[in-house]
Amino acid sequence: MSGASKEGLERQAREALGRIAAIRSEGRELSPRDRLALPVQDMPCQVPQARAANMLEVAEGYSEAQAKVEAERCLDCKNAPCVSGCPVRVDIPGFIKKIREGDYVGATRAIKRTNLLPSICGRVCPQESQCQANCTVGKSLKSIDAAVQIGRLERWVADNERACGACDLPDVGNSSGKRVAVVGSGPAGLTTAIDLRREGHEVVVYEAFQKTGGVMVYGIPEFRLPKSLVAIESNLLAEMGVLYQLNFLVGRTRKLRSLLAEDGFDAVFIGAGAGLPKFMEMPGENLVGVFSANEYLTRSNLMKAYDRDRAATPIYPSRRVAVLGGGNVAMDSARMALRLGAEEVRVLYRRTREEMPARSEEVGHAMEEGIIFDFLTSPTRVIGDKDGRAEALEILSYALGEPDASGRRSPVAIKGSERVVPFDTVIVAIGNESNPLLSRTTPDLKVDKRGHILVDGAQKTSIDRVYAGGDIVLGAATVILAMGEGRRAAAAINELLG
């Protein structure tokens, strides 16, 4: 995945550019065979030992030369199978062609027609299961890792635009006289706000926290998604005239109904995100030293507990950390614990690496940094000391059984494999329930039995003029899916108010 130094990668890219120029100087264009022969451009990364002790971004981003070479790898397929893998249908061959032509502004425009936050998606989308999964280049070279690195290119285009200060704001239409309230400033809320503002509606975004960005600020760590980037994107909205009301909990500070009935809003979008963390429901889970990933990450991201000299929020002093789960949240918690000074961090996952839902790049990064993976294991209880502090986990081993209805082989416990392993910290990262606050304070808002808001194909809820999208509808999903739902809701609201 990574390994080569930044300088090495740059040299390799320049050599490849030389070869490309040589072919063109012969007066011919690159053949598909030539393109397939170009080296996949690796991501320059901080070296593992250094980054495991700092909060700086791990992946440092392509250079211009690397971006150019990677762009040349695209075959510009007619049917563009990559596009159908992207939830918001970014015009992938279109923007890549612009990179090749050196029209970087054009590349940004091509992306932003459908994806308004490319610097974020380029970093956090699970590309290997979305756009890059179907890429012809990857298929031809028989390796998913050899696919055109669409996400990295997307990130480069966006970062380059920002570095040049060339960001142009989406056009804001003439004032429509209509007002829309957006609940939550995660990716769903922010995208909805942009699309509504474009139509000239007045948009007020209500956010419970003191900062905008949702999970992008309190969950996903700095070393994977710098908070300054999220702030820049949020500020862009403010420049478009979107109004923010921070420290405002819809349902409590003001009822959802009151927004429509008394505060003069014509429509409401709910992008409240996922809610209460799930626990394993095993004995000892409320002992001191057992955290939900949400709590652990919020303390260290939003409250900046890692900055020990300045932050007032304490972080638990951990030496041996067990992280339960196998998704992005588990990877982030494990890598955060390492950066906060833990001596040993182990990820306990019931299945094997193949079944892990985390982005494969993050799993690779975590392994490089020294996180230990105990596959096919799961705890049965937390054991505490006399002061109620966690001191060990009882752990059970599993084997993979027959595939279940979903096609995944389900783990079966191996009898008699119980053992006790010392841990002072346990971080539970097995997903979230839905946040009950809005549904409890808005009786006629219909939710399913797990508390997710029910919507129709246009994201409309059971209440007229109220729409919803993102994790509060989908359960824990992804940034890009949340954005996709936000855009669909905005389109419906624009039509309603049109």
Partner: protein, 294 residues
């Protein structure tokens, strides 16, 4: 971001501040709380109960005790200073006409008790208040409570005011009398609430307590405020803060409150040193000393 409208020191460790928060003042009900932060970037989020509200002036009253770094940072704020505030949070107290209500407040707990006493009285209940504290100096809200309650019983650990007793003594007496309470509400340090619940248990009197767990978001996202109630995990910020005191796992809750004791003591120590340093006129020398002492 809002600001502080007034500030009063009620005792050595207890402050009463009014904060500008028109929407909160209008929406809040007895039993609800807010989360405050001294600043947006590095401050801790701490929950404080709304002790009173004035919707006309758009102000809410908070009463807090300086126990650690964050409450000290709050106490250091002056009128006009900005603070960050979110609320009202938590479920309002369930108020109805129960008949006879006994409200027990310990120390700083008397502040959050005040709006509940008021609401119970307005709903037509006979309300007896038992106010307890370590010593007379720490007895707050006495005038307000006396003017509302049908009876005010005072108990201090050292006998410097009222009876020399723990609040559980008069509580047991009332429970054993020929007119036992129909409901008991107890707010104060966890240990006090625990023993109030133990006191009423043999009499089968329903006892509500307001839990002061550690919180971060206060909106049902982090799970930090969880506590075991009747064998089930509950989240104080969205399921509470009030619960049936007979069902709370008190020992589990109290040990979770001690999670960060060591770091809190260090932070507290550090903030005292900072304060000392700021006060000393030869700041440079004092600062060096303070830093060295860390």
């Amino acid at each position: 971001m809002t600001r502080i409208l007034s500030k009063r020191r009620l005792s050595e460790e207890v402050y009463r501040v009014e904060v500008e928060a028109p929407l909160v003042a209008r929406e809040r009900r007895a039993g609800q709380f807010v989360i405050v932060q001294a600043d947006d970037d590095f401050a801790e989020r701490i929950p404080l109960t709304i002790a009173d509200a004035d919707p006309e002036r758009g102000a809410i009253t908070l009463v807090f005790q300086t126990v650690g770094a964050s409450t000290h940072a709050l106490a250091a704020k002056e009128v006009g200073d900005p603070i960050t505030l979110l609320g009202p949070l938590g479920n309002p107290t369930h108020i109805e006409r129960f008949g006879k209500a006994v409200c027990v407040g310990g120390g700083i707990g008397l502040a959050p008790l005040h709006p509940i006493v008021k609401a119970l009285k307005e709903a037509g209940n006979e309300v007896v208040v038992i106010a307890g504290a370590r010593t007379a100096e720490l007895l707050i809200m006495q005038e307000e409570l006396k003017s509302i309650a049908d009876e005010l019983i005072v108990a201090t650990d050292d006998g410097s005011a009222g009876r020399k007793a723990l609040v559980t003594e008069p509580l047991k007496e009332i429970c054993a009398s020929d007119r036992p309470p129909d409901i008991v509400v107890a707010i104060g340090p966890p240990i006090m609430m625990k023993f109030c619940a133990e006191a009423t248990r043999p009499f089968g009197v329903k006892t509500l307590v307001s839990l002061n767990t550690i919180m971060i978001d206060g909106t049902g996202m982090c799970g930090g405020c969880r506590v075991s109630v009747g064998g089930e995990t509950k989240f104080v910020c969205v399921d509470g803060p009030e619960f049936d005191g007979h069902l709370v796992d008190w020992d589990g809750m109290m040990s979770r409150l001690r999670s960060y004791r060591k770091q809190e003591e260090e932070a507290h120590h550090r903030c005292h040193l900072d304060l000392a340093a700021a006060l000393a006129s030869e700041t440079s020398a004092a600062e060096r000393l303070a830093k060295g002492a860390l």
